[in-house]
């Protein structure tokens, strides 16, 4: 490991003994300009990782190195306290200081680092404007909506121009509508932040849309790493399968129809228009040997490419025109006598298709072919 250390970005090997029964041991390597998501359930050790990186909790073993500086290395008794680390953190629940105004919250980091009052105010006001919070500088955090508080937290973390940006469940406390909007804001500012970024989340959509690479964390260990595609299409544990097994496609919506990769789907949301992301849960798809009739309005013939038994359930992958991950009961698999190569019809109800008016962050860079509707 030592030999592989780069001078740029974050290189971290975290060992933290949380309790006798639970320890965190993960390896993170984030180059500048890249966003890594740490995706996992509550209690997997995600927040412990944030505390360790921020210096709020010393690690028990391993090493943290950021842009060539060792921040924590118990073996060499090296430890840089949090106030000297220069790491921007957007905390879960934001943790805005309730006694300070929005402006004072944003300026807090600059003032603490000895920036003169006038300059701190000017720079903070720039960030307040940039995040669309103009005119809210005098408010107290208790007078802000969830979305506004989140923006203040982001401004507070970014205004000091940190070497590393940590986002701990930045959107978890928001309602669905605000979340989609804030996700776009977040994507925009992540793109312009030059350093390494670590996103902590339990929401696979968030990880897919905001991160370049995803580490799945379970019980204090990384159980799978890869791009959104790799994780979605080849889940390696039952948890990952449940968590990220959703079908995700980018498309263009128009009056209750979405066109994705030349294929048309009926959706229940007739208001959505333009670029959208659609999600289909693997359990929402039914499989038939003959063309079904009845209520499902989206049906098409395809071929089974892969069958993975998962105990009582079976996971199927189908081929074109729209490759899907499907989950049905093992009993149904048996009674339909399904095998790789079987020709089937699949059906999805319009109401079972989730439509999000959002675009994946790096779609344009082409790093995620599936998001554009391509084949895995």
């Amino acid at each position: 490991m030592e030999g592989a250390v780069t001078r740029q970005g974050l290189e971290a090997h975290l060992q933290v003994v949380v309790t006798d029964a639970f320890r965190l041991e993960i390896q993170l390597s984030i180059p500048p300009g890249k966003t890594i998501a740490l995706l996992g359930p509550n209690g997997a050790g995600k927040s412990t990782a944030v505390s360790a990186l921020a210096g709020l909790r010393p690690i028990d073993g391993g090493r943290i190195e950021l842009t060539g500086t060792v921040l924590d290395d118990p073996e060499r008794a090296a430890f840089v306290p949090p106030e000297q680390r220069h790491i921007g953190v957007v905390f879960q629940d934001y943790l805005l200081f309730p006694n300070l105004s929005v402006l004072e919250n944003v300026a807090f980091g600059l003032r603490s680092r000895g920036v003169a009052r006038d300059e701190a105010v000017t720079r903070s006001e720039t960030w307040i404007e940039r995040l669309g919070l103009g005119g809210l500088g005098v408010r107290k955090p208790s007078q802000l909506s969830g979305g506004q508080a989140q923006r203040v937290a982001l401004a507070r973390a970014l205004v000091t121009e940190p070497d590393l940006l940590l986002l701990d469940e930045p959107l978890a406390a928001l309602d669905v509508t605000t979340r989609a909007e804030l996700r776009r804001t977040l994507a925009e500012h992540l793109r312009t932040f030059p350093g390494p970024r670590l996103l902590i989340t339990h929401d696979p959509t968030e990880a897919f849309l905001l991160a370049d690479e995803i580490h799945v964390i379970e019980d204090g260990e990384i159980t799978q790493s890869g791009t959104a595609d790799e994780i979605r299409l080849r889940p390696r544990t039952a948890y990952v399968a449940d968590l990220v097994g959703s079908n995700l496609f980018a498309g263009v919506a128009d009056g209750g129809r979405v066109e994705t990769a030349g294929h048309h789907l009926h959706v229940a949301d007739t208001d959505a228009a333009g670029d959208v992301l659609i999600t289909i849960r693997p359990t929402a798809v039914s499989v038939h040997l003959h063309e079904p009739d009845g209520s499902p309005r989206n049906t098409w013939p395809t071929t089974i490419e892969l069958i993975e038994p998962l105990g009582e359930r079976t996971r199927l992958r189908t081929g074109g025109p729209l490759p899907l991950v499907i989950e049905i009961t093992t009993e149904a698999t048996r009674s339909l006598d399904l095998a790789a190569g079987t020709d089937v019809w699949v059906a999805v109800k319009a109401t079972e298709i989730g439509v999000e008016t959002d675009r994946p962050v790096s779609q344009r860079s082409g790093s995620r072919p599936d998001a554009a509707g391509g084949r895995p």
């Binding site: 106030e83 943790l95 200081f97 006694n99 807090f108 603490s112 680092r113 000091t160």
Partner: protein
Amino acid sequence: MSISTPERRRVRSRPPVFLVILGILGLAIFVIPFVGLLARVPWSDLPELLTSNIVVDALRLSLLTSIAATALAAVLGVPLAWLMARVEFPGRAIVRGIVTLPLVLPPVVGGAALLFALGRRGLVGEPLYEATGLVLPFSTWGVVIASTFVAMPFLVITVEGALRNLDQRYEGAASTLGASKWTVLRRVTLPMIGPSLLAGLVLTWARAFGEFGATITFAGNLQGRTQTMPLAVFVALESDRDTAVAISLVMVVVSLVVLIALRERWWKAL
């Protein structure tokens, strides 16, 4: 419907009769003594009584020493509360017990203990006197120390509770923003426990303002130097009832005004 709804609501919200009776009796225990006091107030002689030398001296001394004791308790009590809330050290449970002891100990015993420790021949008092010539007993400083001894537990307990309840993640957030420990304390911790701190200060002041037993034992009863309002009442009860009543009235009014003015804030904090 329009008739039955308000009626039903009234029935549901009426509290049980026996609770009301007992509650009113409880209140009466607080109120009746003050009514008795008010009934004995010699209203026409009041201006004259209250401007007498003894009363003016006692009031000035009481305000001075109670504020000084509160300030001393703040300077020493807040760090003590912080240590008790935040630092794991052996014997922390014993320290908690010692800090709360003055709350339950008869103040006379506290005063006697202070005398043995800080008196001119006391364990600490003797070397202190030899080194500096300072004599604490029977001095105004003695009053301040006796008041601090009995009143500071209110501050320490209130502030310690607030520090334990404070979400420490805020302090962590401040340190990731580059704030030194001192800045965190000054700009985050203390403002966030502000209401509790104020509550503690008010309770401490009120207790110091009414302090009697430890003061008379440790500091004696010298007009203008150690004779505070409660001591003046005690003396006057023997000789001049009207003066005793007048001083008592002043104490009740001053304390009540302060407590009511700050009640909203400290109820919220406690």
